[in-house]
């Protein structure tokens, strides 16, 4: 176990979000796109938060993005980096930055998705330097 790894709590899965987690288990990152207004959003919802339409679809994401902000939680027993990453597709998502030097993280860095196992649920998308 590298020094930055910590046990990852499992995400609760419900019928609305199950496709996201099924894709994550297959190593794919999905985002929701609204067919009515064309906007992509995250976290994924059945109902578009921009226009209220129920015509939302799962679309594939490249898994590439940039660091919008981050913080290394130094006081934790195993320090880790929480971050917001802006996907190339548009939405910004909360995540962790992993498999990298925590002291070398900078806002604006290019990152790519990696999936990390959780305690007893589907893997969750995290990001590492591209």
């Amino acid at each position: 176990m590298s020094p930055q790894e910590r046990p990852i709590p499992s995400p609760p899965v419900n019928p609305e979000t199950k496709p996201f987690w099924d894709a994550a288990a297959a190593g794919k990152l999905l985002v929701k796109k609204c067919s009515a207004c064309g906007e992509r959003h995250h976290y994924p919802r059945a109902i578009c938060p921009f226009c209220g339409s129920e015509r939302t679809e799962w679309t594939g994401a490249s898994g590439r993005g940039t660091v919008y902000s981050y913080s290394v939680f130094r006081r934790a027993p195993i320090p880790y980096a929480i971050a917001y990453v802006t996907l190339d597709e548009g939405p910004t998502m909360m995540t962790n930055l992993v498999d990298c030097d925590l002291d070398a993280i900078r806002i604006g860095q290019a990152v790519r998705v990696v999936f990390k196992p959780t305690e007893d649920g589907p893997p969750v998308p995290m990001f590492t330097r591209a």
Partner: protein
Amino acid sequence: MSIKGKAYLAGVFEHPTRKADTQSLAQLHAESALGALADAGLTKDDVDGYFCAGDAPGLGGLSMADYMGLKLRHIDTTETGGSSYVIHVGHAAEAIAAGKCDVALITLAGRPRAEGMATGTAPRNYGAAAPDVAFEYPYGPTVVNQYAMAAMRHMHEFGTTSAQLAWIKVAASQHAQHNPRALLREVVTVEDVVNSPIIADPLHRLDCCVITDGGGAIVVTRPEVAKRLNRPLVKVLGAGEAVKHQRGGKIDLTHTGAVWSGPAAFAEAGVTPADVKYVSIYDSFTITVLITLEDLGFCAKGQGGKLVADGNLIAGVGRLPFNTDGGGLCNNHPANRGGLTKVVEAVRQLRGEAHPKVQVKSCDVALAHGTGGSLATRHGSATLIMGRE
């Protein structure tokens, strides 16, 4: 309809305890209520409106009305975290103006210290049904590392420094030295803050508020009642509230909901930031104060670092005295919710009842602002402008 001048803050009370080993949660609420009613010169039988938030035990307003023996014709349990109580004052003024109640009681209490709660450093989980939880909780979002991300982005965009943030804590500590109830009364320097251990980059231990037990209460009443009471008259001039969230992934960490609640409150009050003599600004962390002051219009966006530096927030020294009780950073942050005590100190200032060492001269207009939830995800913002009559 405006609430300007339609309601008065007749009683305020800050519970003196900072660690409640021997009181129950309901008891702390009720002790606070009695304190505020005594301050106003009213009794519990005068209360016909009750306001509380998620910190109240059991079924909230129902449980507390039962415990205290209140007979109510108006109840409001609006929950926006630590900003709830600032919102409650505005809602109480609305209810009074609409004739729904005459004497509104607002209470807050909690005992996170006695319960050993890791307030800022353990990830918060609001339950599996929270729509965001699966997409946040696995990443270990704590209160402190979320606010830290806002600080990190502000530093990136505007060049804000840790030393500038430290001045906010320095000012709070300068005030707290005069408050015998303050949890932390030691005066600190910028060097003390920036040399304290990093909790979550870029926030240091001394950028974070205290964890305390206790509570507080506020009594809001209609003008006819307030003018019968033998207390200085402090009235509501304007109130604004807003909810800021993640906007479907269009994240922006450099603004708070104060950009909406502030202008609404100023417009209703008919005053501008230049008219405000004293501000109580929610200070969960130093960064909370800096961003809020920008959003309320006390300086341009990005200039908050310069605004707070060099003692400018210290009463008797700078041009914008803030949190003269020592605030959440030094005095008290009861139940991890600091909105109520923000209103209490603003009322003390308007009455001329703040500690003489920190009393603002000719304090005729004051502002209290609450921020509840998380700057980094979703939060409630509430701005309240009050005036002395």
